[in-house]
C-alpha cells in the first residue's frame, strides 16, 4: 500500500488480470461483430438507399458492397473490422452515411459525465443507507431503509423519471424537464440512474458490513475504547470493502447500461441514446460501435473492481505474487530476515 515494492510485487497479478481482460474484450468484439451476421436486411442495400435518398439500384448496392468489403468471408471481415475499430474507425452509419467513430467519441464524454455523477449519488446514498442498515437495531427505521432500498431497485427507471418530471419539473418547476444545459438539468438524470444503484449497493453494504462488524477485532476495538464511528470507518468498511468494491464495479457497469434508458428520456446526446437510435433504425455499424463501447466499459468496470479488491488487501498479495512484500523491502532493511512466514518469537 505504501511501499513502492508492494506495487511492483503486484505486477504479476495485474499482468495476468490484463491478459484475462483482453481475452474477454476480444470475445465481446467477436460477439459484437456477429451482430452483422444476425442482421435482417442487407446493410449494403440500406446504406445505398440512405445515400441515394430512395430505393437504390442494384448497381449502387453492388458498389457499396464492394466499398464495404462485404463479399469477403466472415472471419476476414472480422479481422478487418477489428483492425479498423482499434484505430477508431467503425465505418459509416447506415442511417446518416457519416463516420461512426467520431460520433461515438463525441458522445462518450456526455455518458461518462452522467455515469460519474450517478455513481457519486449511488455511492454516497448507498453507503450511508447501508451503514445505517448495518448498525441500527431491528426497528421501524431500519425496516423503512431496507424497504426503501428494495423499492428503489424495483422501480423502473423510466417510470421514476416520469414521476420526477411530474413533481420536480411540472408541479414545482425546480428543474427543466429535459435537455443537458446547466447544472439543474443534471439533477433528474443523476437521480434516476443513481438511486436504483444506491438501493442495490446499500443492501450489500449492510450485509457485508454487519458481517465485518461481527468479527472479534471489533470487540477488541471496543475494548480499547474506540468509538462507533472509528470502528465503522477503520475496521468495518475496509474489511467489508471486497464485496462492496466488486458490487461498485457492477454498479458502474450497470450505470453505463442504464444510460440507454435515461439519456433517451431526458434527451441527452450520449452513447446510450445513440445506441437506442441505432437499434431502432437497425443501423448495424453504429450499433456495433456503441455496443463495443458500452459493453467494453461494463466489462472493464467489473474487472477493475476485482483487481482493486485484490490490491487493497495486504493478505491477498502474498498469495498472488509468491514472495511477499518483504522481498522488495529486503534491500532497504537489512536487519530483516525477509522471509514471508511469521517471524519467530524473538525473546
Amino acid at each position: 500500500m505504501r511501499a513502492p515494492g508492494r506495487l511492483r510485487f503486484a505486477g504479476r497479478y495485474v499482468t495476468r488480470w490484463a491478459v484475462d481482460t483482453a481475452g474477454v474484450l476480444l470475445a465481446l468484439s467477436a460477439g459484437t461483430f456477429a451482430l452483422v451476421l444476425l442482421a435482417r436486411g442487407d446493410p449494403a442495400a440500406i446504406l445505398a438507399a440512405t445515400r441515394a435518398g430512395r430505393s437504390a439500384t442494384p448497381e449502387q448496392i453492388e458498389a457499396v458492397r464492394a466499398e464495404l468489403g462485404l463479399d469477403a468471408p466472415a472471419p476476414v471481415r472480422y479481422v478487418r473490422w477489428l483492425a479498423d475499430a482499434s484505430t477508431g474507425d467503425f465505418g459509416l452509419s447506415l442511417r446518416t452515411n457519416t463516420p461512426v467513430g467520431p460520433e461515438i467519441a463525441d458522445r462518450m464524454g456526455v455518458t461518462l459525465g452522467l455515469v460519474a455523477g450517478s455513481a457519486a449519488v449511488a455511492l454516497v446514498a448507498g453507503v450511508a443507507v447501508g451503514v445505517a442498515g448495518a448498525v441500527l437495531g431491528r426497528g421501524p427505521v431500519r425496516g423503512a431503509l431496507r424497504g426503501g432500498a428494495l423499492l428503489a431497485t424495483s422501480v423502473p427507471a423510466f417510470w421514476l423519471s416520469y414521476l420526477l418530471v411530474l413533481v420536480l419539473a411540472l408541479r414545482l418547476g425546480l428543474v427543466p424537464t429535459s435537455g443537458m444545459a446547466g447544472p439543474a438539468t443534471w439533477v433528474m438524470p443523476m437521480a434516476v440512474l443513481g438511486l436504483p444503484a444506491a438501493g442495490a449497493l446499500s443492501r450489500v453494504v449492510a450485509v457485508t458490513l454487519r458481517e465485518a462488524l461481527d468479527q472479534p477485532y471489533v470487540l477488541a476495538a471496543q475494548a480499547r475504547g474506540s468509538g462507533p464511528v472509528s470502528i465503522v470507518l477503520r475496521d468495518g468498511l475496509p474489511n467489508a470493502a471486497g464485496p462492496i468494491l466488486s458490487l461498485a464495479g457492477v454498479t458502474v457497469g450497470s450505470l453505463l447500461v442504464g444510460t440507454v434508458v435515461v439519456e433517451q428520456i431526458f434527451g441527452w446526446p450520449g452513447l446510450g441514446a445513440y445506441f437506442v437510435h441505432a437499434a431502432a433504425a437497425r443501423d448495424v455499424p453504429a450499433l456495433q460501435a456503441a455496443a463495443l463501447a458500452l459493453g467494453g466499459g461494463f466489462i472493464l468496470a467489473n474487472r477493475l473492481a476485482d483487481v482493486l479488491q485484490a490490491l487493497i488487501d495486504p493478505r491477498s498479495l502474498r498469495d498472488a505474487g509468491g514472495t511477499g512484500p518483504r522481498a522488495a523491502g529486503r534491500g532497504r532493511r537489512p536487519s530483516r530476515r525477509g522471509g514471508t512466514g511469521p517471524r519467530e518469537e524473538a525473546t
Binding site: 480499547r224 475504547g225 468509538g227 447500461v257 440507454v260
Partner: protein, 654 residues
C-alpha cells in the same frame, strides 16, 4: 423480515406467499384477462379519449379511448407470458448445458465454463438491445434476446451441482449396472441440478419483467397494439401531466411485480437478521424479577466469590450477582448466573472452567464486551472509594471512558482480534489516542513503540509497520498486551491469553504478565481452562461450572485442598510432576455444556462421583469450606471438614 412480520407470528411459508402475492395476483389476472377485462384493450373510441376514472372505466381511458383497466390486465398477461417463456427457455437450456458440461468434465467442461463466464459477464440489457436492434422488435425476438443472456446463470448453477455429484459412488454403481449416459443424466443428474435453478428462477422474475417493460418502453419490446405496461407509459407520455391515471397505474403495476419478485428472491436467498456487535442504543435494563426463570436460591447473596465484608480502597473490580443471558423462545436463556468476584490492586484472579462454562462472559460482560443481544444484570464496580464507578447500564460513550483507559483487554485469538488490513502500529496508535495520550502522528507513534517495547517486542519501529498476519502468535499476543496497556489501566482482563501458543512462548507470556502486574501494580482477571497457566500466575481462583462459580479461594488452598468434586476432577486431569510413576491422570466422565438453569439442583450432579439424591434437587450455594476465604458450592463438602476416610475412598473410585 422486520418486526411486523415477527409479530404476526406467521409461519415462514405463509409469509413467503404473502410476499409473492402481487406476483400471484397479476399472474391470475393475466390468465383470466379475457374474462375479467371489462372491455377490449385495443378497441379505440376517440370520443371517449382521456376520460378520468369513472364507473364505466374504473381506471379511465387513454388518448385513444381504450379502457385502462383492461389494458393493465392484458399487460399482465403479456408481461408474465414473455417472462414465463424466457424463464422456460433459459432454464431448460441452462440446466441441460450445465449438466452436460458437469457430467462430461474435461475439455468440454472447460470450454463451456469459459463460455458461461463470458455470458454471465455480459450486460444483459445491451445484449438484448443489440439483438433486437439487428433483428427488429417483436414478441419472438424479445424472447430470444432475453433468453440469450438469461441462460448463463442456470448453466453455472447446474454445472456446479452436477460436477459435485459426478464423482459419487452412486453414479459409478449405476454405470456398472449398465445405465447409459443419457439415462444417468436424465434420471439422476438433471433433477438435482434443476432444484437450485428453480430457486434462482424465482429471483430472476423481477429482473426479466423489468427488462420486458424497459425494452417495450424504448419501443424495442412488445410492439403496439398489444397492451404492455412499459409501452402504455410511452404512449401516454404526452398526456401524463394532465391525465394522472395514465401515469400511475402501469408504473405501479410494474413496480409491484418487480418488488415482489425481488423480495421473494431476497427471502429465498435467506438474508440474515442478526444485529451487529456495535451497539448504538443504551441496552435495555430489565427488572430483576423478569430475568430469573426460576426463583433464585435463598442464599443468593452468599454466592459471592469473596468475603462480603471488605470495602477497602484497593479493590479494583467488584462484581456482584452478575447474570447474562440471551432471549430465547420468549424467555431468557442464561449462560452466567449469580456470579460474584472481586480483584484487588496488584492481584491476579483466575477464572477457570471448561469451554462453555461462562467464564469469558463473566469476565467481559461488566465492560459491555458481549453480544448486543445479551441481557446482563447485576452490579460491577470499578475502583474503590471515591473513584468507584458502577459499570452496569452504561451507554456506549460512557464505556469509552472506561474501556481502553481504566481497563485493558487481551483476547484469546490474537489473529482475529486484530484488524487484518491495518498495521500493528495503527492499532496501538489508535489505542494511545483513545486513551488521550496521543499527540501528533510522530508523538503518538513514539508512545506506541514504547508500549510495544514494554510488551517485550524487540525492534518496535519495525514491528509497528507489520501487518498482523506477518507476526507469530506470541508476538501478536504481545501486541494485544501493548494495546491493552495504552491507557495505563488499573485492570487488565486477559481471556485465554496463552492458548494456541506453544509451551515456551506460553511461559514467556505468563512471565511478562506477572512482571507487568508487579511493575505497574495492575489488577488482572485471567480467564483460562488451563490449570497449569493459572498456578503460575494467579493469586486467587474462581472455578466455574455451567455458568456458576462452584469454588473459589486463594490459589494455594484451591489447588492444594480442593473441595468441590469438579475442581478435583479438573486438577486430576492435569498430569503433575512428582506423581508416583504409573499413576494415571484421570479424565472426567460425562459431557459438559449445560446452562445454569438446566437443572434445579447441582449442575455437576450428573457427572459427580459422590452425588447423592439431594444433589439433583437442591442447588448448593457457595459457603465456607476449609477457611473463610475458601468457599465451595457442594452439598457434601468432601474436602471441607478435613479429609474424611469415606470421602477418600470415594475419590479413589473416580
Amino acid at each position: 423480515m422486520t418486526q411486523g412480520h415477527r409479530r404476526w407470528g406467521l409461519p415462514a411459508t405463509v409469509r413467503t406467499t404473502l410476499v409473492a402475492l402481487p406476483l400471484i395476483v397479476f399472474a391470475i389476472a393475466g390468465v383470466l384477462a379475457p374474462v375479467l377485462a371489462p372491455a377490449d384493450p385495443t378497441a379505440n373510441d376517440l370520443a371517449a379519449g382521456l376520460l378520468p376514472p369513472s364507473a364505466d372505466h374504473l381506471l379511465g381511458t387513454d388518448q385513444l379511448g381504450r379502457d385502462q383497466l383492461s389494458r393493465i390486465l392484458y399487460g399482465a398477461r403479456i408481461s408474465l407470458a414473455v417472462t414465463a417463456a424466457v424463464l422456460a427457455i433459459s432454464l431448460a437450456a441452462g440446466v441441460v448445458i450445465g449438466t452436460v458440461a458437469g457430467y462430461l468434465g474435461g475439455r468440454v467442461d472447460r470450454v463451456i465454463s469459459r463460455l458461461i463466464d463470458m455470458a454471465v459477464s455480459l450486460p444483459g440489457m445491451l445484449v438484448a438491445l443489440a439483438v433486437i436492434g439487428v433483428r427488429g422488435p417483436g414478441v419472438e425476438n424479445l424472447v430470444i434476446a432475453l433468453s440469450l443472456w438469461a441462460w448463463a446463470p442456470y448453466a453455472r448453477i447446474a454445472r456446479a451441482r452436477v460436477a459435485g455429484l459426478r464423482g459419487s459412488p452412486h453414479l459409478d454403481a449405476l454405470r456398472l449396472l449398465g445405465a447409459g449416459p443419457v439415462r444417468v443424466i436424465g434420471r439422476h443428474l438433471l433433477p438435482p441440478a434443476l432444484a437450485p435453478c428453480l430457486v434462482y428462477a424465482s429471483t430472476d422474475v423481477g429482473a426479466i419483467v423489468l427488462s420486458v417493460a424497459t425494452l417495450s418502453f424504448l419501443g424495442l419490446g412488445i410492439p403496439p397494439p398489444h397492451a404492455e405496461w412499459g409501452q402504455m407509459l410511452i404512449e401516454g407520455r404526452p398526456y401524463l401531466a394532465s391525465a394522472w391515471w395514465l401515469a400511475y397505474p402501469p408504473g405501479i403495476a410494474i413496480t409491484a411485480v418487480v418488488f415482489a419478485g425481488n423480495l421473494l428472491g431476497e427471502r429465498l436467498a435467506g438474508g440474515d437478521e442478526r444485529p451487529s456487535i456495535l451497539r448504538w442504543v443504551r441496552p435495555a435494563r430489565r427488572p430483576r424479577h423478569s430475568i430469573a426463570p426460576r426463583p433464585a436460591p435463598a442464599g443468593s447473596p452468599a454466592t459471592s466469590a469473596a468475603p462480603a465484608a471488605s470495602a477497602e480502597d484497593d479493590v479494583v473490580l467488584r462484581v456482584r450477582d452478575l447474570s447474562a443471558g440471551y432471549p430465547h423462545g420468549g424467555g431468557l436463556r442464561r449462560v452466567v448466573a449469580g456470579v460474584s468476584y472481586e480483584v484487588r490492586r496488584g492481584r491476579v484472579l483466575a477464572i477457570v472452567g471448561e469451554t462453555g462454562s461462562g467464564k469469558t462472559t463473566s469476565a467481559l460482560a461488566p465492560f459491555g464486551l458481549v453480544d448486543p443481544g445479551a441481557v446482563v444484570t447485576g452490579s460491577a464496580t470499578l475502583g474503590g472509594g471515591a473513584g468507584a464507578l458502577e459499570l452496569m447500564g452504561r451507554t456506549p460513550p460512557e464505556r469509552h471512558r472506561v474501556n481502553g483507559r481504566r481497563v485493558g483487554v487481551v483476547f484469546q485469538d490474537s489473529l482475529a482480534a486484530l484488524n487484518p488490513l491495518r498495521t500493528v502500529g495503527a492499532h496501538v496508535d489508535e489505542a494511545v489516542r483513545n486513551a488521550g495520550r496521543g499527540g501528533r502522528r510522530a508523538a503518538t507513534r513514539r508512545v506506541s513503540e514504547e508500549l510495544l517495547r514494554l510488551a517485550g517486542l524487540p525492534d518496535p519501529a519495525v514491528i509497528a509497520r507489520e501487518f498482523p498476519h506477518q507476526l507469530s502468535g506470541g508476538m501478536r499476543q504481545r501486541v494485544q498486551i501493548a494495546i491493552a496497556l495504552a491507557g495505563e489501566p488499573e485492570l487488565l482482563v486477559a481471556d485465554e491469553p496463552t492458548s494456541a501458543l506453544d509451551v515456551t512462548v506460553q511461559a514467556q507470556l505468563l512471565d511478562l504478565l506477572g512482571r507487568l502486574r508487579d511493575e505497574l501494580a495492575m489488577a488482572m482477571v485471567v480467564v483460562s481452562h488451563d490449570v497449569a497457566v493459572i498456578s503460575r500466575l494467579a493469586d486467587s481462583v474462581a472455578v466455574m461450572y455451567a455458568g456458576r462459580i462452584v469454588e473459589t479461594g486463594p490459589l494455594a488452598t484451591v489447588i492444594g485442598n480442593p473441595d468441590h468434586p469438579y475442581t478435583r476432577g479438573l486438577l486430576d486431569a492435569v498430569p503433575r510432576p512428582g506423581a508416583a510413576p504409573g499413576t494415571r491422570f484421570r479424565t472426567m466422565p460425562g459431557r459438559s455444556g449445560a446452562g445454569p438453569d438446566d437443572t434445579g439442583g447441582c449442575a455437576f450432579a450428573p457427572r459427580c462421583p459422590i452425588a447423592v439424591a439431594a444433589c439433583a434437587d437442591d442447588r448448593p450455594v457457595l459457603e465456607a469450606a476449609s477457611t473463610v476465604a475458601h468457599r465451595s458450592a457442594c452439598l457434601r463438602h468432601p474436602g471441607g471438614t478435613a479429609l474424611q476416610p469415606g470421602t477418600a475412598r470415594e475419590r479413589d473410585r473416580l
